[in-house]
């Protein structure tokens, strides 16, 4: 007995209603009844279920519409499941999905059913993500596996909407294939999240990359979002020492932005919409510029670490690679070497963007300079958008990046004179910030700056004192006066840092410093103590005063740490020295006072 056309038409109407409710009407649901459309859709779906079940009962077991009806029933269960999950009836949703699975069990890979199958596994993945990521992963990997198999067999799926289309003449293969790809992209995206939740960051990043790749291939992306996401992903790779991959992602990001820029230039009508787009473009380009700068900074920093850890034997013993595809994989890892080979973007040629800077670990000053210059150019670019007057916080952060860049370059510079010059540049950048911003509103930035300035002046001091010691001739008064000046400057900035913790009303320091600031606070005190001992003078009175100040500061740290045990752990090394000094210095003071 064949099923009447009316039955199918009826089902089609109902299906269309459901889709409309779920995709359009649900957006207009009032705040007081956010699930209104979904509940309505659910009602219809329940009706459809009954109808289809009826039809199945009357249909012969080997009838031509058998698979189609099975698929339709599966689809209805799928939608019921999705709606339940959306309306937070998780266990009901689970039941529906289980029924769906049961229904389509024997026909999972058939063209009529495949899209439902993949969707269903995705939904199971979403369902279980909230309770047990491990189980979610299993379902999603099933979907992944099925997709690959289906693609390998090059079958054409049937779109779900076509399934419900009563008198269809030709199937929408294009739509079906596009939906197939969309579902798979979501599978990958969900897997990326699951791996993230399970703390498998590298695996997650691989899936994020694949998702980006697919968006690119399908032409289904917003260029700004895509560029920003690629740049963000590059930050992750950098941290894993994957500088090659990081650079590639940054290059891709720049490539896409350039493409978008061309698109914008094509727009002739300059209206508000255009302005908004241009603004966003400039904003996000500045952000990508910052990522490029971070790349340079981190490459120098990691190169430095590498050199320090393998002082003499670097070429022989260091197996560290800046290319993730060469990463040594342990047998327990869930990642395969294969996984790491395809972290580039097919379909776009970004070599010209990659050519600007190296992705190899740095060894020489010459190479370091090149990276430095490149990164510096990017910070300048970023500051075109993030100006002091408009977006001061970001501007300051970029300046801090610039000072970090100088610091990283310093390491590769052998000549102390040049080192001092680089420090001086840092000082200028940092002091400029203090001049320009209100420390009340930018307190946490000013604190960083003061601390950095304290340290930088101390670094210059070290260089100058080294120079004096190494020279044979008697130090000139000017040289000594310079030394003292540096000591004072360093103390000044560390003091500013410390005083910023004073209570605004009483002017006194609190008994306890907030935990996240405790370590630098104590270190600052410690540095001041040591600095007081570095004044060069023959005047006994001055020496006495300095030594007393030194003692006072060592004592402060010592007392604070005795009072607050946890703090002691933070600055264990310094604490030890403070205790020594508190014992030694009184002797010196006594001698100085006596004479």
């Amino acid at each position: 007995m064949t099923i009447t056309k009316e039955a199918f038409v009826d089902l089609q109407e109902k299906y269309n209603k459901v889709i409309k409710l779920l995709e359009e009407d649900s957006k207009l649901d009032p705040e007081t009844e956010p699930y209104l459309s979904k509940y309505l859709a659910r009602q219809i779906l329940i009706g459809m279920k009954a109808n289809i079940e009826n039809l199945i009962r009357t249909e012969a077991a080997d009838g031509q519409d058998n698979i189609k009806l099975t698929a339709m029933l599966g689809a209805v269960y799928l939608y019921l499941g999705m709606v339940s999950i959306d309306t937070e009836e998780i266990s009901t949703g689970e039941k529906h999905l289980e029924k769906c699975k049961e229904t389509i069990e024997k026909h999972q890979e058939k063209p009529e059913v495949i899209l439902i199958t993949l969707n269903m596994y995705n939904q199971f993945g979403i369902l279980w993500s909230q309770r047990e990521p491990g189980k979610s992963k299993v379902y999603l990997e099933k979907a992944e596996h099925l997709y690959k198999k289906y693609k390998a067999e090059a079958n054409v799926p049937l779109d779900i909407s076509d399934l419900f289309h009563a008198n269809i003449e030709t199937y929408n293969t294009e739509t079906a294939l596009r939906n197939l790809e969309k579902i798979y992209t979501h599978t990958l995206y969900y897997l990326a999240q699951i791996f993230g939740a399970m703390k498998e960051a590298l695996k997650s990043s691989i899936y994020c990359h694949i998702t980006l790749q697919r968006q690119l291939q399908m032409g289904d992306y917003d260029p700004i979002d895509w560029a920003l996401n690629a740049a963000t992903l590059s930050q992750f790779f950098m941290e894993q020492n994957g500088f090659k991959q990081a650079k590639h992602h940054l290059a891709a990001s720049s490539y896409i932005l350039a493409q978008y820029r061309n698109e914008l230039n094509q727009i002739t009508e300059r209206n508000e919409a255009y302005d908004a787009k241009m603004e966003t473009f400039k904003h996000r380009s500045a952000d990508v510029a910052r990522c490029w700068a971070k790349y340079g900074i981190l490459l120098l920093s990691k190169s430095k670490e590498r050199l320090l850890n393998h002082a003499d034997d670097i070429d022989v013993n260091c197996s560290m690679s800046s290319d993730l595809s060469k990463l040594q994989i342990t047998s327990e890892s869930s990642i395969s070497t294969e996984d790491l080979q395809h972290l580039d973007f097919e379909g776009i040629d970004v070599r010209s963007y990659e050519a600007q800077v190296t992705d190899q670990f740095i060894l020489t000053l010459e190479d370091a300079r090149k990276v430095f210059i490149n990164a510096q150019q990017w910070t300048t670019k970023a500051q075109e958008y993030y100006t002091l007057d408009s977006l001061a916080s970001d501007y300051i952060e970029i300046v801090l990046d610039q000072t970090q860049l100088y610091l990283n370059l310093l390491f590769f510079e052998d000549n102390p004179e040049n080192q001092a010059k680089l420090h001086k540049r840092r000082v200028n950048l940092l002091e400029n910030i203090l001049d320009k911003v209100n420390s009340q509103y930018y307190l946490h930035y000013c604190r960083q700056v003061w601390f950095e300035l304290g340290r930088t002046y101390a670094d210059i001091l070290d260089i100058k004192t080294d120079k004096l010691r190494e020279s044979d001739s008697r130090p000139t008064p000017q040289a000594l006066s310079k030394i003292n000046n540096l000591v004072e400057k360093s103390i000044l900035h560390y003091s500013n840092f410390i005083n910023s913790f004073q209570d605004k009303v009483t002017g006194k320091l609190p008994d306890k410093i907030p935990e996240d600031a405790e370590k630098p606070f104590l270190q600052a005190y410690f540095h001041i103590a040591a600095l007081h001992g570095r004044h060069v003078t023959l005047d006994k009175q001055v020496q006495l005063k300095n030594t007393e100040a030194s003692l006072e500061h060592y004592k402060f740290v010592s007392d604070y740490c005795d009072r607050y045990g946890k703090a002691k752990e933070l600055v264990a090394m310094e604490y030890g020295i403070c205790k020594e000094m508190v014992a030694l210095l009184p002797i010196k003071i006594a001698k100085l006072s006596a004479s």
Partner: protein
Amino acid sequence: MISEDTEVVNNVENVRVFMRIRPETENQDQTAITSDKNIITLTKSSTAKTFKFCKIFDHTSSQIDLYRSIAVPIVAKVVTVTYLEIYNEEIRDLLSETPKKKLTVHEKPGLGVYVKDLLGFTVDSLEGVTEMLCKGNKNRATGSTKLNDTSSRSHAIFTILVESKNKTNNKTTFGKLNLVDLAGSERVNRTLATGDRLKEAGKINLSLSVLGNVISALVDGKPTHIPYRNSNFTRLLQDSLGGNSLLVLEEQKETKRKRKKSKTLINNEEFEKIEMEKGVLENKIFVIQKKILVGGENLFEKAQQQMELIEDTAKELEHLDSTHQLLQDILPFKAQEKSFVEEHQVSLQEEEGTG
């Protein structure tokens, strides 16, 4: 609950003392409390003590009563309110005629963070404040149905700015109060009520529009690496959130002399400091020695003094030397500690910084 001396009130010009009695709870020490206008009487086992205040508010009084009674007479103030909503990282003015228009966040180094073109309304009463609040609420984005989609979060910030001129000392003070309505709070309550254990971390975001969030979550927790992901929300509340978060004060593990073979970098810094002290002392000695050679009056006396100084410094050098030795002994020990800490840190980073 019971406040201080009444004498204080009369002596200090700018201080007024008021008392508000909270509703009675379990009165463990059986003290009877009665109040009348501005005198309160405490009676305990037939001993009565009285205290006098400027005014006493009993347990039926409300915050508004207090405010009206106490604050209003003292200060003349201008109260301005602003009300904005952050929805999908877009900022809208809820009090404007065109609430759909997107506004931008700006900063000026002297002013801090502000929203450009945000309207401020002056109100002269508490009723005015609540009126503004209601008006703004009407303009809030209607509840998105994409409840699974974490990208559609709407926060609202209602700000009350008070500029008050104190009549007694002619000083103007500014105060700012931010009332924040965090998005998703209702949803959380509902979930808690139903008992479903919703692990936010494990919950999958359906929309690819938040791929960026997923990727950012992978990057190490340090905020330095992805600065542009600071949401407008945190940016606007920057000054209210306090200046105590020190973003980057990374340990500078570098040594000043990279050729040094030693791997215990932190210890080396301290070493060098001690060496510096030594160096300076040596220098002083050297300078002094030179002075002895150059002529001058009372050279002998000076020589005597200087001999003593040299002795002292020599002793100190000894002392420092022994400290130096002590530190050197500790050094290998510290090296062990350091590598242990480093290992520990690496494994912590792997745990925390991912996902």
